[in-house]
Amino acid sequence: MVLKRLLGAIPLLVGITFLSFLIMRLAPGDYTSMMMDPRMTQADMAALRENLGLNQPIWMQYIKWLKAVLQGNLGYSYVTGKPVLGLILERLGPTLLMSVVSLVLILVITFPLGLLTGAKRYSAFDGWVTVLSFIGQSLPTFWLGMILILAFSVKLDWFPTSGYLDPMAEVMGGFASIKNIALHMVLPMLTIVIGSIAGFTRYFRFGIIRILNEDYIKSAKARGLSDKRILFKHAFKNAALPIVTLLGLELPGLISGSFVIEYIFAWPGMGQLGIQSAFSRDYPVLMGLLLMTSVLILAGNLLADLGYRWIDPRIKHS
């Protein structure tokens, strides 16, 4: 079944990349129009377009790209001339670091929060958590980020304003580097977490409500087991299962959201690369990024589906 899914993913990826390729090449203006430089003559521009292969018909350019990809070559950036695969790989680390650690933090906060609000439905606690998490979800991310920087970095000087690792700390290496990166991560992570609490909490909340209404819980209650024991022994365990599913479902959101966060906090990840390449019309990099992120998302979906079926074998394969 996994094999079927993997095979099925291939035409998807081809479709995605071809569509994107088409959109980018049909756009008015391309990389050469970025170079409005009085020193450049029209003859030079023509030579440039020739060198970059921008004069060939679109489908030919696509086939060329596809062939190269299958050989592991994602092309070279127009802007820097660096190999695209290398560029993306060196940015993958910081993005994964931020996403994974944020996700862990979110789960640590929202799991108990969700369970408690679900167990104590409609209580004052539930009400407050709902309102606060809704507010967190309604704040524009970049606005929140800037305000956090203003408050905690500029006014209070607790954290650095942006970046990943200070050169001096890097030179010192070891624990000093790790501590330095951690300091740089606090504010962007806080921004991500505040915005995500609502969604995750509600997910766990619904989960626990559903579980608490299940027959086996009701029978346990009828048998006289204390509420607390029911909660801890049975409900929690089952409510924890969807975490794998959640990881798969939330990954696209995190990858998407990373663009803005990385831009504001100058975090050297894939999202920042995406924004820079979009603005400079660096197609090879954009195509490579699209491919990479689509692969990650499809992988996440596969994981989520597998996890879902594993938890609940009753779900028919539709």
Binding site: S33, P38, G163, I264
Partner: protein, 528 residues
């Protein structure tokens, strides 16, 4: 006895002197921390196109010439040179002690290789046109290990200025594809500093190059932090995470409040303007262009947008340039809205008493100004112009376009071009030759996108390029600028100043000017 005493006395004075200077300002060992406002694209002298790349390259590479604080050419890798009487043949003698940072000597072979690579059509560069005169390339030949001969098809005044372009090493780059060479991210240097680390999107670390042929740099390390967002740049500066920052006029008051900082300001080689599409029926009428000129209050504009850090502009040349017209040659348009309206009436427009807009042949005088996204001062200026023109009954719409589409619209080969008016700025080179901007041949494909045509200006442009004597050139350009200003193809708006705030600990700065505060980077050092 007296002699000995005297010697001791002198010795004592000297020791005292040394002791005094040491205790008043101890030289610090910490690195110099600068800001790059965007990630550099590549560090190859002939390929790079963006400002951050240029800033880094300026610290690690050298050309035959360099620009000093007075914007004059000085020999850099050059020892001496001769030029033939007809101005077409140059013989350059290179310094014999110059080395690349890997120990290889810098020779004429490197010079010839640099230009051969530049002229090759396979190289993706913008600079080729600098060395192509009237369609024919400049020819370079190595006469011996340290001598290069350059043969020009015509005498060309800007040639020497262009020779300040940096060199690339033959022994590393021969037989490679220059566009994708790893050298572009890991260059070797000829200059006072070497590239040690380039952490993409984070920082670039430079270290002193002990093989530099010039004087040894005083500072040991330079860290260039990459911070693209302007708010973040300012915050980093306020927290003393960087030593220097170019700031925009609105932040000056906030920065002035910071302790231990010094503020520098200087006029730059650039101007902002409103350009008319001269092929459009209304704008081809000189009276209409004049009417718009009189409707703009330039001093108020400079105060509101630049907070006074700038001057109104009246000519396509900057005051810092040696070719700037004298006061009596300037064509000024003072703010006079009544004159504006009178000129419009003269041009055949009538004011509609109900809507207050001027109309001609039943159509409202309405046009769209385009400008590029990303320059907040320009966008603000556009909004101010909109209000100003509204007051004299002209309806101006603003369209802010993304850079790439914007460029396509104004430099595309269509004739007539699809825009009405454009607001943009020109960064001027140190050489006043502006052939590409004003010559009638540079339309429709080229940078004369307004479609300006003046036969006298055309001939002056060609003359200015051929004339080698600077005094004669000055007269040519002054006359030319006066003609252009009188024709009013653009409304020249203002010259923005550059404002830089720098920490007191940074010493050894050069005279503030377009050649940069750290023009002699070898002199710069930090004190405690």
């Amino acid at each position: 006895m007296k002699k000995a005493l005297f010697a001791v006395f002198l010795g004592g004075l000297i020791l005292l002197g040394l002791g005094c200077s040491k205790s008043s300002s101890k030289v610090s060992d910490t690195p110099l921390r600068l800001v790059l406002k965007a990630e550099p694209s590549n560090l190859n002298s002939i390929l790079h196109t963006d400002v951050p790349s240029a800033e880094v390259i300026g610290l690690i590479s050298n050309g035959l010439f360099r620009l000093n604080s007075n914007l004059e050419l000085e020999p850099d890798l050059l020892e001496s040179y001769t030029v033939s009487d007809d101005g077409k043949t140059f013989v350059f003698h290179l310094k014999k002690n110059a080395k690349w940072s890997d120990g290889h000597p810098i020779t004429a072979e490197d010079v010839v290789f640099t230009f051969d690579t530049l002229m090759s059509p396979k190289t993706n560069t913008v600079r080729r046109g600098l060395f192509v005169i009237e369609g024919k390339p400049v020819k370079f030949k190595a006469l011996d290990t340290y001598t290069v001969q350059a043969t020009l098809p015509e005498p060309f005044a800007p040639f020497l200025t262009n020779m300040s372009m940096g060199l690339i090493p033959k022994h590393i780059l021969q037989n490679t594809d220059i566009n994708t060479a790893t050298f572009n991210q890991k260059p070797i240097s000829t200059g006072p500093f070497n590239l040690v680390v380039w952490k993409p999107s984070q920082y670039i670390l430079l270290e002193r190059n002990d093989l530099y042929f010039g004087s040894r740099a005083k500072v040991k390390k330079i860290i260039m932090k990459i911070i693209p967002d302007s708010n973040t740049q300012l915050m980093a500066y306020q927290k003393d995470e960087v030593d220097e920052l170019q700031i925009s006029p609105k932040d000056v008051d906030a920065v002035k409040k910071l302790p231990n900082r010094v503020l520098y300001r200087y006029e730059d080689l650039q101007y902002t303007y409103l350009g008319f599409n001269l092929k459009k029926p209304w704008f081809s009428n000189f009276l209409v262009r004049q009417a718009i000129a009189y409707a703009i209050n330039k001093p108020a504009l400079v105060q509101t947008v630049l907070k006074g850090y700038g001057k109104p502009a009246d000519t396509p040349c900057a005051p810092v340039s040696w070719a700037y017209p004298s006061a009596d040659q300037l064509v000024k348009y003072d703010y006079d809205p009544k004159k504006s309206e009178a000129l419009l009436v003269q041009a055949g427009f009538k004011r509609n008493p109900k809507t207050q807009w001027f109309e001609k042949d039943g159509k409202v005088f309405e046009f769209t100004l385009i400008t590029n996204k990303g320059n907040p001062e320009r966008e603000k200026t556009a909004e101010i112009l909109q209000q100003a023109l509204k007051q004299v009954g002209i309806k101006m719409n603003i369209q802010v376009m993304e850079w790439s589409s914007f460029v396509k619209m104004i430099t595309g080969p269509k004739d007539p071009k699809p825009f009405d008016a454009v607001m943009l700025g020109w960064a001027l080179g140190t050489d006043p030759d502006s052939y590409l901007t004003w010559h009638s041949s540079q339309y429709p494909a080229g940078f004369n996108f307004v479609g300006y045509k003046n036969a006298k200006v055309d001939s002056l442009l060609v003359q200015g390029r051929r004339e080698m004597d600077q005094k004669k050139r000055k007269a040519i350009y002054q006359e030319m600028h006066k003609l252009i200003a009188s024709d009013l193809p653009y409304i020249f708006l203002y010259y923005p100043e550059v404002v830089i705030s720098i920490h007191k600990r940074v010493q050894g700065l050069s005279k503030p000017g377009p050649a940069g505060l750290m023009n002699r980077i070898e002199e710069v050092h930090l004190i405690e």
